[in-house]
């Protein structure tokens, strides 16, 4: 099972996560504490769930290679090597391209969810978190290579999982991304094609989500791109903000014996 009382976060260097109230979480984070991802289940990313993203594709959705607008949710896995936590330092593989910061609402599942109806869907949610769903920018969404989204550290989660009762209106949350403390990118969960409940219903019709799994509501259209040396702060609603910094590959390289 996956259960939390309030704000669940896992300070770097500690054996177990802490479950504390909002002010304690804020006090811990104010000290500059780095965290591990507060979840360890499967993480599924959602794309093209922002009405603006579909509008931008426009007529291209009817032409090759897409041929028709998407019917089922557009999903992908963020495998375990991608998981990272608050204050992660993520390697930018190609600084000319940069890394797109998809600030997504992470829906954290509380109990086994199979064939969940829209009316019941919210009862299966333990809480919410921030997911920086990172990707190497790529134009085509036809059959993108996994190397764009599955790189080490490309799914930064946290700092906290916030209990669902603190977030009564997940379909109306402001999303913001600030690069280096400057210009802010804004979006909202309100522009989603499928809202939280509908997404869970459509997904769990064919695949079970387990306790502790995370599915994102989706990457906002027009998400900002970071480069080496940048630091991004993501916020969604009143949840504790998530910080990610972007570094070069130099110190990480080297072949294994």
């Amino acid at each position: 099972m996956f259960a939390l009382a309030d704000h669940l976060l896992h300070p770097e260097g500690e054996a177990l996560p802490r479950d504390v109230d909002a002010s304690s979480a804020a006090a811990l984070l104010a000290r500059g504490m780095a965290c591990r991802a507060p979840v360890s289940g499967a993480v599924y990313g959602t794309l093209l769930n922002d009405r603006a993203a579909l509008a931008a594709l426009g007529d291209a959705m009817h032409a090759a290679p897409y041929k028709a607008p998407p019917k089922a949710p557009v999903l992908y896995l963020k495998p375990r090597n991608t998981l990272a936590g608050h204050r992660a330092r993520v390697v930018v593989p190609d600084n000319a391209l940069g890394v797109e910061i998809g600030a997504s609402l992470g829906i954290v599942i509380g109990r086994t969810a199979t064939r969940v109806g829209v009316e019941q869907a919210l009862h299966y949610i333990a809480g919410y978190t921030l997911v920086a769903d990172l990707s190497v920018p790529h134009a085509s969404v036809y059959r993108p290579s996994v190397r764009f989204r599955a790189r080490d550290g490309f799914c930064v989660v946290g700092p906290a999982v916030v209990a669902a009762r603190h977030i009564p209106a997940p379909d109306d949350l402001q999303i913001e991304v600030s690069l280096n403390g400057g210009a802010t990118f804004s979006a909202s969960t309100a522009s989603s094609v499928r809202n939280v409940a509908q997404l869970l219903t459509d997904v769990t019709d064919f695949m079970t989500l387990g306790a502790g799994d995370v599915i994102t509501l989706g990457v906002p259209h027009g998400s900002p791109v970071a480069h080496i040396g940048d630091s991004a702060t993501l916020s969604i609603g009143a949840m504790p903000p998530l910080t990610v910094s972007f570094v070069g590959a130099e110190e990480q390289e080297g072949e294994q014996p």
């Binding site: 499967a42 599924y44 794309l47 093209l48 290679p65 897409y66 041929k67 028709a68 998407p70 019917k71 089922a72 557009v74 999903l75 992908y76 896995l77 495998p79 375990r80 090597n81 991608t82 593989p93 199979t114 969404v141 036809y142 059959r143 993108p144 290579s145 996994v146 190397r147 599955a150 790189r151 080490d152 064919f206 695949m207 079970t208 989500l209 387990g210 390289e253 080297g254 072949e255 294994q256 014996p257």
Partner: protein, 252 residues
């Protein structure tokens, strides 16, 4: 060594082949049908390859690829030997895919082709189902096609790499209701195992328990509820699965 994982009498056991069925780690010997077969290992990240046998790619009318067509699968898809996989009543084409599953045994990051096989712990048979009706052209193959509950059958055994003489010369066969429908050989892989490990580890870290499903050869046909699908790979055993109807799953 061949190892399986079975549920029996209230617990999960490691299990081994026995002339009378299956031998549990605690010494009990039971018939193959007396136990519930789970996937032989607890899997980490599951990679799957599209179009990695030349003839199969031709069958699906695909040309040359710039890089391996890799996609990822979640843990909910995994099913053991003798499990059942649901076929929705409204679909016209659901097919099996017999695949050699490569299990990573050591952390791998920036591994060269020459050193790649040191990172392989062993092998399993995989039967990776797909439902063509649900194919959409966004992030192909989309999860509704390839990430369905019970759509990735693994087992019956995990076999140590050292016990497989030449992994580049293994025959794969699939039988539907006893008729051989699919036949191939790992010598025909478009991207071979060392190249796959080199490729994947060039941009991500592979960890013990990660599994690479290396693709399927030509010979896919539609399967229907009630069909028995058996996948065989030389030296790895015989993986049985049965197709079930919506009604079996309480979907009228």
């Amino acid at each position: 060594m061949m190892r399986g994982r079975v549920a029996y009498a209230g617990a999960i056991h490691e299990a081994y082949p026995d002339t009378n069925g299956v031998r549990l780690a605690d010494g009990r010997v039971r018939g193959e049908h007396e136990v519930v077969w789970l996937a032989p290992i607890e899997v980490g990240t599951i990679f799957a390859l599209g179009l990695n046998y030349a003839e199969h790619a031709k069958e699906l009318q695909f040309g040359k690829q710039e890089e391996p067509l890799v996609f990822l699968k979640g843990p909910g898809t995994v099913l053991g030997h003798r499990g059942v996989t649901r076929r929705p009543v409204d679909v016209t084409f659901m097919h099996y895919e017999c695949e050699l599953a490569v299990v990573i045994g050591q952390t791998a990051r920036n591994v060269t082709r020459e050193n790649a096989m040191q990172h392989v712990a062993g092998y399993m048979i995989a039967n990776d189902y797909a439902i063509r009706d649900y194919l959409e052209n966004y992030y192909r193959p989309n999860l509704r096609v390839k990430n369905r509950d019970g759509g990735t059958v693994l087992g019956p055994w995990f076999v140590d790499a050292a016990d497989i003489g030449d992994v580049t010369q293994l025959e794969l066969r699939t039988f539907v209701n006893g008729t051989r429908q699919q036949h191939g050989n790992t010598r025909d892989l478009v991207t071979d195992i060392p190249a796959l490990i080199e490729y994947l580890s060039s941009f991500m870290t592979l960890a013990p328990g990660d599994v690479i499903l290396t693709g399927t050869p030509e010979g896919i046909v539609n399967v229907n509820a009630g069909d028995e699908v058996v996948c065989e790979i030389d030296g790895l055993g015989r993986l049985v699965n049965t197709i079930a109807s919506d009604a079996d799953f309480g979907r009228a």
